[in-house]
């Protein structure tokens, strides 16, 4: 195995979880997240094949590749936006598939385990539906922060926006989720 391939192997082993988590957070489905994660690593592998220099900061590069691959995939799955921009395309998995998300199917891939500990399946379903109703920008920022494991500073970096913009989008997403879910999230309400 060449030195480059060995280095690639190490990067995959080290960062696969983070990349997968980012992709799942955006796409909200396990298998789509895996596809996007693989695409992100393939983009790096193609650089290796072309003998291009390694990114100076491989994790930062991979995060951007993951977000890009996930957004590309989301856009291709919902090509009904009038202008093709993210703001009008892919208003969430529910509309993308034309079906109501099944409890425990969507989102379990984005946030396995921990969310289920905090809410029952019905609440989980409502959460995913509320997320799907968010504007794309807000949903992307919220998902990357809440499920993707990135700080808002890191979210801003991968999206190429200022930290204050990411904070504003995130805070507004939070307030909309709070408003749309109402008291559903409060302790005892899921019973």
């Amino acid at each position: 195995m060449s030195a480059a391939a060995e280095r690639f192997d190490r990067l995959v082993a080290e960062h696969h979880g983070a990349v997968l988590r980012i992709c799942r957070s955006i796409l909200r489905e396990e298998h789509l997240g895996r596809d996007a994660a693989q695409e992100a690593f393939l983009r790096l592998w193609r650089r290796v094949e072309r003998a291009e220099p390694w990114p100076d900061r491989p994790l930062a590069w991979l995060r951007r590749a993951a977000v890009s691959a996930a957004i590309d995939l989301r856009r291709r799955r919902a090509p009904d936006g009038p202008d093709g921009t993210v703001s009008t395309v892919a208003p969430g998995p529910a509309r993308a598939t034309g079906a109501t998300p099944a409890p425990g199917k969507r989102g379990t891939g984005a946030a396995p385990g921990a969310w289920r500990d905090a809410a029952d399946r019905e609440l989980f379903h409502r959460l995913e539906a509320a997320l799907a109703r968010l504007p794309d920008g807000q949903r992307t920022v919220f998902s990357l922060r809440h499920d993707g494991g990135l700080s808002l500073r890191e979210v801003a970096a991968v999206l190429g926006v200022s930290t204050s913009t990411a904070k504003t989008q995130f805070a507004r997403a939070c307030l909309r989720l709070q408003a749309s879910l109402g008291s559903d999230l409060e302790p005892g309400s899921e019973a």
Binding site: F8, D9, V12, H16, G17, L20, R21, R24, R34, Q38, E39, A40, F41, L42, R43, L44, W45, R46, W61, L62, R64, A65, V67, S68, A69, I71, D72, L73, R76, T85, V86, S87, A111, P112, G113, A114, D117, A118, A119, G137, T140, R145, H146, D147, G149, S151, L152, L159, G160, Q169, R172, C174, L175, L177, Q178, L181, S183, D184, L185, P187
Partner: protein, 160 residues
């Protein structure tokens, strides 16, 4: 600063995303604003549960992804493996066509179009520099040259 802005800050505080100076200013406001204080309690009971439940890790799934590097590289390998086959197919087809055109081949000549079956348009695709191992079956998207991909549209959206 308006109550609406302070409520956005409350959401940021839930996730530990508030700067210390902002947090102090928010505390000062809460001391004097009953409505925001009530909202802070409501937010804590509601969205606060989500913030507290944020998963710390994304487990790598078992199965074929237990060795993801091999999986990924394996997905890219056909690019190398197929190239000679395409080359042979194209060369065989071209040779057969040339032979037929020159009148040197008989109708029973096995070289006339009976080589390895190449998908229609495959040679055109390869000639155009399209990566046959492109992800998601996407043939037209070029790999990123300097960066991992364009996020300009997202940036434009968020900047609104």
């Amino acid at each position: 600063m308006s109550c609406e802005t302070h409520r956005e800050e409350l959401a940021l505080r839930l996730y530990g995303e508030l700067e210390p100076a902002e947090a102090r200013a928010l505390e000062a406001h809460l001391e004097s604003c009953d409505a925001c204080r009530a909202f802070a309690d409501e937010l804590e009971r509601g969205l606060g549960r989500l913030a507290g439940a944020a998963p710390p890790e994304a487990p790598v799934p078992a199965g074929p992804w237990s060795t993801p590097a091999a999986e990924i590289v394996g997905a890219a390998r056909p690019r190398w493996g197929r190239a000679p086959a395409w080359s042979l197919a194209a060369a065989g087809f071209a040779a057969g066509f040339l032979a037929a055109w020159l009148g040197l081949a008989t109708p029973a000549d096995p070289g006339a179009g009976t080589g390895p079956a190449a998908p229609a348009g495959a040679s055109v695709e390869l000639a155009a520099g399209v990566d046959p191992a492109g992800g998601f079956g996407r043939a037209s998207a070029p790999p990123p040259a300097a960066g991992p991909g364009s996020l300009g549209r997202v940036g434009h959206l968020l900047a609104r």
